[in-house]
């Protein structure tokens, strides 16, 4: 069965690029463009993995992560943080909040990110 990925990212270019990359790898990709929408979709769809940006309108990534981890129906879905370089404290803090891993967008290429996600989902 095909694994599903939910990308919660407000930057459409980035979201689309990573979507293309993941779809190339045979994953089903869903997109949300702010935290609220992402949380809603997570509850509805229950994806196999979530890619979560930090700086977003409405509900930022940190709050979204907290909300996911506070909801017992979705808290087991692995969340991977996707962010730009700049605030290491904030990024490392997400691990403590329950994030599975983090990617610094401007230091990692889409192919590296998709490889790591596949690794987490145990897809070779």
């Amino acid at each position: 069965m095909e694994k599903s990925v939910l990308i919660i990212e407000d930057e459409k270019i980035l979201s689309n690029t990573i979507k293309d990359e993941l779809e190339d790898e045979g994953l089903v990709v869903l997109q949300a463009f702010d935290g609220e929408e992402g949380l809603k979709m997570t509850k509805e769809v229950k994806p196999d993995i979530i890619l979560l940006d930090i700086i977003m309108p409405k509900l930022d990534g940190i709050e979204t992560l907290k909300a996911i981890k506070a909801d017992s129906t979705i808290k087991n879905i692995p969340v991977v943080i996707l962010t730009v370089h700049g605030d290491l404290e904030k990024i490392t803090n997400t691990i403590a909040l329950g994030a599975k891993a983090y990617f610094i967008k401007d230091q990692q290429s889409p192919s590296e990110i998709s490889a790591a996600i596949k690794n987490i989902l145990h897809i070779s």
């Binding site: 930057e11 270019i13 980035l14 690029t17 990573i18 293309d20 990359e21 700086i55 730009v84 370089h85 700049g86 605030d87 290491l88 404290e89 967008k105 401007d106 230091q107 290429s109 889409p110 192919s111």
Partner: protein, 753 residues
């Protein structure tokens, strides 16, 4: 007190004490002697008279014994016995039926006789009846009884016979008397001052009781020493008296003299003694008065003389002509007066001379005073000038746009300008003359500990000190204001530090600007990164699917990708510089295995070294080295130095990386040696400065920012380490970085990127 009095008084006083003591002592001695002699006299009297009476009674006993020896006592014989003894009143025989059977008195024969009254007080076979009144002739009597065959022979004796013994008043004066009392204490001889007393008056005086007690208590009292005493007798008056017990009859003889009569001579003695004292004292007084007068008279004359001389008559002569010490004194005095007169004349002369000198000197002083006043005027002018200068300095200080205060060497504030008042909220009156430490509290912004070092160091080091960043000043209203500036020691001409001037300014606006700058850099870098990431990702996707594109277009896409990566690095550098300069870097030490850490980074550089055919060796000795430091910090250092080495080493070059453990200093050395272009010697001093690059570097690599080594140096500093290098142009460079194995944590900002 006058001399006369001084002489007379003590002598008289001593005389009075001595005389009184002697007189009273002799008086009491005499009284005592008199007492003793009267007592002895009374003792002798009672003793002799008791002896007399005892003898009389013993004779009576002797007589009755003789009478009892006769047989066939007839009435006649009894009468004969009676008549042969004047003191016998009646002699009679009583039978066992208590009837008088025979008697010297016819009328008594046949009468009943209460024989038991007679058979008492048996001594030496003889019964003796105590004094009683005879029923027959009512005369005071005693009776002696003795057994005669079967009858009792009784002789009654008229007791009045003893009156002769007691009424003899020889040596007893007017009030003296002697009397007898029986064993019951009743008088049995007449009393001088009381009539009809026989067996009627009971004597209860002290001596009577003592005597009767003696009789009761002693069976043998042959050798009794009588005692005299003073007591109250039956007349209720004080008497001197003696007693003596009469053992045969159990009587007592008492002799008494009124005390007033007995001691009458002593009264006269007292009177005489007092008169004698007064006479002696009077004579004494006259004598001492005369002596005192003789002594004091020349002294009075001397005293009057001195008064006259004191009043100014130095020509007066005291002139007492006595030859004693006072006379000599008065003559010396006269001589002295003459001498004084002489010296007075001398003194008058000297005083006149000196007065003249003083007047001269006074004139001199007046001249000098005038001169001093002139000088003072000059000084005053100078002072005014100085004040004008000071006012100028004050005006300058107060016009300066920064807060200025000056402390003297005791740390007391001496100048405090208007801006300082505005910034601190304190008035000049609040601070001037006070220790600045008590008023102006400078604290570190972060930990709020006192931050006065910049002033104290200006004092101790004598050099200008910059205030540390992030200093707060606590204002008068307890609010806080960020301040910045510096302090400088004030030195006198000899170079001694005599104070310190502190210039400070309100740094609120600067801090705000810094914050804005920092925020701007943060936001801008994020905003820049996002589109850069977009470019990178899209170009990467393009390259992946660009096999259809011509080679040139593919190269374009690669260039776009590379440029955006460079831009990304530049953003990182800017952010780091901004954080370093804002003091907003966090050092968060964590456990790092250094050898693996370096190895993994070096692996990342493999594509680059391979491209230039550079040999990169890592001397992995020691095998493991665990350190506690900031991960981003150490990564920046290693990354920057390694990438520089690769960058500036030509193809086929060598790079050696090594780590040395310094156990002693708990530090380690990171060394990187390349065979690169080197740093020109003229650039070596400034190579760690911002925007500085080696001149030759420009030729190799045009896109350098000049941030790299600056950030590296700052990072090493922040981790508590040191960096240095050795370099020869065109031969190569070696960087030595010494870092502590354990870095100190630092809060209050963000990590390196």
């Amino acid at each position: 007190m006058k001399i006369k009095t001084k002489i007379i008084l003590p002598i008289i006083l001593v005389a009075v004490i001595v005389l009184s003591t002697a007189t009273f002592y002799s008086y009491f001695f005499n009284v005592n002697t008199l007492n003793t002699s009267i007592g002895e006299h009374l003792n002798t009297t009672v003793s002799s008279r008791s002896h007399h009476i005892d003898t009389f009674i013993e004779e009576l006993i002797g007589k009755i014994k003789i009478a009892a020896t006769q047989e066939n006592l007839t009435n006649e014989k009894l009468e004969k016995i009676k008549n042969s003894n004047r003191e016998f009143s009646e002699v009679f025989l009583v039978n066992l039926d208590k009837k008088i059977i025979k008697s010297s008195r016819q009328e008594s024969i046949g009468l009943d006789c209460s024989i038991n009254d007679y058979l008492v007080n048996k001594k030496d076979n003889v019964y003796m009846r105590d004094a009683y009144i005879s029923k027959i002739n009512e005369e005071p009597s005693i009776a002696i009884a003795i057994s005669h065959n079967k009858d009792i022979l009784i002789i009654r004796i008229n007791l009045e016979i003893l009156n002769d013994v007691t009424t003899n008043k020889t040596g007893l004066g007017n009030t003296g008397e002697v009397y007898l009392i029986n064993s019951a204490g009743y008088t049995i001889t007449p009393l001088q001052f009381s009539e009809d007393t026989f067996l009627k008056t009971k004597i209860e005086s002290k001596n009577a009781k003592s005597c009767l007690d003696t009789l009761k208590n002693e069976t043998e009292h042959t050798e009794y020493r009588g005692g005299s005493a003073i007591y109250t007798n039956y007349k209720k008056i004080e008497v001197m008296g003696s007693y003596h017990p009469l053992s045969i009859m159990n009587w007592c003889i008492l002799a008494e003299i009124d005390k007033s009569e007995a001691l009458a001579p002593t009264k006269n003695l007292l009177k005489f003694s007092i008169i004698r004292i007064l006479i002696i004292l009077f004579i004494f007084f006259i004598l001492t008065y005369l002596i005192a007068r003789t002594i004091s008279k020349p002294i009075i004359i001397l005293s009057q003389g001195t008064k006259i001389i004191k009043n100014g008559n130095l020509d007066h002569k005291v002139g007492t002509n006595s030859k004693d010490e006072i006379g000599s004194l008065s003559r010396d005095f006269d001589e002295m007066t003459v001498a004084i007169k002489k010296s007075q004349i001398e003194i008058d002369k000297k005083v006149k001379e000196q007065t003249r000198e003083i007047i001269e000197k006074q004139k001199d002083i007046e001249n000098q005073q005038e001169a001093i006043l002139n000088v003072l005027e000059d000084v005053e002018n100078e002072k005014k000038k100085t004040e004008i200068e000071r006012d100028k300095i004050d005006a300058i200080l107060h016009s300066i746009g920064d807060g200025v205060f000056v402390v003297d060497k005791d740390k007391k504030i001496t100048i405090f300008n208007n801006i300082a008042e505005q910034i601190s909220g304190f008035n000049k009156e609040d601070v001037l003359g006070k220790n600045y430490l008590d008023i102006l509290k400078f604290i570190h912004e972060k930990d709020r500990t006192p931050n006065n070092d910049f002033i104290e160091k200006a004092f101790s080091l004598g050099k200008i000190q910059m205030m540390k960043n992030h200093t707060l000043l606590i204002k008068k209203d307890k609010s806080e204001v960020p301040v910045a500036d510096s302090s400088a020691p004030i030195k006198d001409s000899a170079g001694n530090i005599i104070g310190c001037i502190v210039v400070f300014r309100d740094a609120t606006a600067e801090r705000k600007a810094e914050q804005i700058k920092s925020d701007f850099v943060s936001i801008a870098s994020h905003q820049l990164r996002t589109p850069l990431t977009g470019i990178q990702w899209v170009t990467e996707r393009l390259l992946k699917h660009s096999t259809a594109l011509p080679e040139k277009e593919q190269q374009y896409i690669k260039d776009i990708n590379l440029s955006s990566k460079r831009l990304s690095t530049l953003v990182d550098s800017l952010l780091n510089v901004s954080r370093i300069e804002g003091g907003k870097i966090t050092i968060k030490p964590e456990k790092i295995e250094l050898i693996d850490f370096i190895k993994s980074y070096l692996t990342e550089t493999n594509p680059l070294t391979e491209a230039k055919n550079i040999s990169l060796k890592f001397n992995t000795h020691p095998e493991n080295l665990e350190i506690l430091t900031d991960r981003s910090g150490i990564r920046n250092i290693v990354q920057s130095l390694v990438s520089n080495a690769i960058e500036y080493t030509p193809e086929n070059g060598n790079i050696e990386v090594s780590v040395e453990d310094n156990v002693e200093k708990d530090s380690f050395l990171f060394k990187i040696k390349d065979t690169g272009i080197g740093i020109p010697s003229k650039n070596q001093a400034t190579i760690f400065d911002k925007f500085t690059r080696g001149e030759n570097a420009q030729q190799v690599k045009t896109d350098g920012t000049g941030f790299g080594l600056y950030i590296t140096k700052q990072t090493v500093d922040l981790l508590g380490g040191k960096i240095r290098f050795e370099s020869i142009e065109n031969e190569g460079t070696t960087f030595f970085v010494t870092l502590p194995k354990i870095s100190k944590a630092k809060e209050g900002g963000k990590s390196f990127v």
